[in-house]
Amino acid sequence: MAIEAPDPLHQHGLPTAGIRRRLASLLYRRQTLLLLLLLTPPLLWFGVVYLGSLLALLMQSFYTFDDFTMAVTPELTLANFRAIADPANPLFGANIDIVLRTLGMAAAVTVACALIAFPIAYYMARYARGWQKGFFYIAVMAPMWASYIVKAYSWTVILAKGGIVYWLGQALGLNALLEAVLSLPMVGGSSLSTSNLGRFMVFTYIWLPFMILPIQAALERVPLSLLQASSDLGARPAQTFRTVMLPLAFPGVVAGSIFTFSLTLGDFIVPQLVGPPGLFIGNYVYTMQGAVGNIPMAAAFTVVPVVLISLYLALARRLGAFDAL
């Protein structure tokens, strides 16, 4: 008579506990299986849905659009890219204007966000304690709870003639100064809400949290003893900041700037609501794929921010932004 050896896993507990325990120990022993189970769904999503659609987009940017029949045919052509990159092309002037306008704004917004965010992040990481820390986190993130559209619209009211800014300027007797600033070329306009300055203010406001949080996280990781060591070795506070604090916080600034830069580069709502006429890349893409129906041209234009961000990352890498990671 064969006697079955008692399974040590089944000696205690209920059968269901046994199954769960066996599953747990199976996954514990086969770490690769666990990893596979955890990573397959997101990788499928990322690979198929995200990268797939990006590739489809890239593909379509080589399709041919017939100006007369408004029809898209899958005949591969470089015409769309020539319209952006070839100075001999009749459309080049208008297109490069769009790219430069967007790029200039994205760069300005990024620099402004970094300058404003650094002191806030520095205070949050170095000085805020207890309830202050919670207050700062909520204060930085609270604007993100409100709808983006609502914020953009409310800014049009804030910046319009007769709005809060003008009212405040009048109360403080600063409207003459405001008018003088608005009369400057490039930044100015007939009112704040139709000027590049106004658009810049709205962008800076909306993307600021995306700059504060990465810088704060980077500063938080700098051990206090490094700053003390620098001071101990004779560095004045400004030197410590320049030679220790800033280089170690720089990856955070770069991470934040990737957000502010790419978010501005791709935005098409703020340029529509605030600021002077003149298309941004996003508006142009929107118009091409919507009103005009020139999907290939729209697709070609979306490649521009991808290339710009790639160049930016390569530059940041060369500058050693990721060395301290």
């Binding site: 003893s225 490094l226 620098s230 101990d232 004779g234 004045r236 220790v244 170690l248 060395d323």
Partner: protein, 336 residues
């Protein structure tokens, strides 16, 4: 003559905690001075007061005769070797060592040559091009030392610098540190919780307890003549016999200490001072064994005996009744 460091009634209060409480001390020029104590005893706060990372709440600190009140760390002629080394991760080893010269505006070629020289002194001549992350713990420790010494400070502060190293390396570094201090002739102020480290390297040791100095003497005196029960226990691991037990033993109500190696198992009538109890535990340490003896009233004594290759040596077993004895001269009278 000016003292290298002088504390007069120095206190440092955090909220309501007296981390340092009315401390008086002087460190002589060229001395190897250690601050010894358990964690939270105020020794590291004292070091940070000298470095300038903390300001005294009360009292006066002088460094080479100059009042240090309000003087920031970067204007003090002292340098620190940090417990976690605090090497700059984004700089090469060479730039780390040269940092003190760099912030003083010394030209690149000059400061790098100096840094090479310092690295050679700590036996890391070929490591200048590496990043700190590519070094072992012992190597990082040497880099931290070279970096702190490049400014030629008159006082070097060391905050448990050997704490993270393994035993063998720690012992080697103790010898090297002591040799370096003799060679350079500068004042070392050394913070540690390891009594062996403090005893083996220092000219004088200050034992800290709850923000106050319990005893300040030479290592020999500290070990042989502890003044308080705390010092006797913390430095020598000595047995402290309190006043009431002393009364019944020697007819005098004064606490005293006896070191474990001065005690031995004896038979009744052997003379000397004796106590009987039960052996509860034996710890084998190689060279010696430590025997834990419980007295009838629950008090415990530690007896340390060398483990000789001697067949006649009979070790008692746990559970056995034993008589512990020591000679009268082994007793060190303690302050109340």
């Amino acid at each position: 003559m000016n003292h290298a460091v002088e504390f007069q009634q120095v206190s440092r209060v955090f909220d309501t905690v007296h981390a340092v409480d009315r401390v008086d001390l002087t460190v002589a020029e060229g001395e190897f001075f250690s601050m010894l104590g358990p964690s939270g005893s105020g020794k590291t706060t004292c070091l940070r007061l000298i470095a300038g990372f903390e300001q005294a709440s009360a009292g006066c600190i002088r460094i080479h005769g100059r009042d240090a009140a309000g003087v920031p760390p970067y204007e003090r002629d002292v340098n620190t070797v940090f417990q976690d080394y605090a090497l700059f991760p984004h700089m090469s080893v060479l730039d780390n060592v040269a940092y003190g010269l760099m912030v003083r505006g010394v030209a690149r070629a000059v400061r790098h040559r100096q840094a090479e020289h310092m690295l050679a002194m700590v036996k890391l001549a070929d490591f200048g091009g590496r990043r700190p992350a590519a070094l072992s713990g012992g190597q990082r420790q040497r880099v931290a030392l070279a970096r702190a010494l490049i400014n030629q400070p008159r006082v070097l502060l060391l905050d448990e610098p050997l704490g993270a190293l393994d035993l063998k390396l720690r012992e080697a570094m103790q010898t090297e540190l002591k040799a370096l201090q003799r060679q350079l002739g500068i004042t070392f102020v050394y913070v540690t919780h390891d009594q062996g480290e403090a005893l083996s390297m220092s000219d004088r040791v200050a034992v800290f307890k709850q923000g106050r100095i319990e005893q300040l003497s030479s290592p020999r005196e500290l070990y042989n003549r502890p003044r308080t029960a705390f010092v006797a226990d913390f430095v020598g691991g000595a047995n402290v016999i309190d006043a009431s037990l002393a009364q019944s033993l020697i007819g005098r109500a004064q606490a005293f200490s006896v070191r474990p190696e001065q005690m031995d198992f004896v038979s009744e009538g052997d003379g000397g001072i004796q106590l009987t109890g039960t052996l509860v535990d034996v710890q084998y340490h190689g060279a010696v064994s430590r025997y834990q003896v419980a007295l009838a009233d629950g008090r415990q004594l530690a007896v340390s005996r060398p483990n000789l290759l001697d067949a006649t040596q009979v070790a008692p077993e746990p559970g056995q009744a034993v008589t512990v004895g020591w000679p009268a001269h082994a007793m060190v009278m303690l302050e109340a």
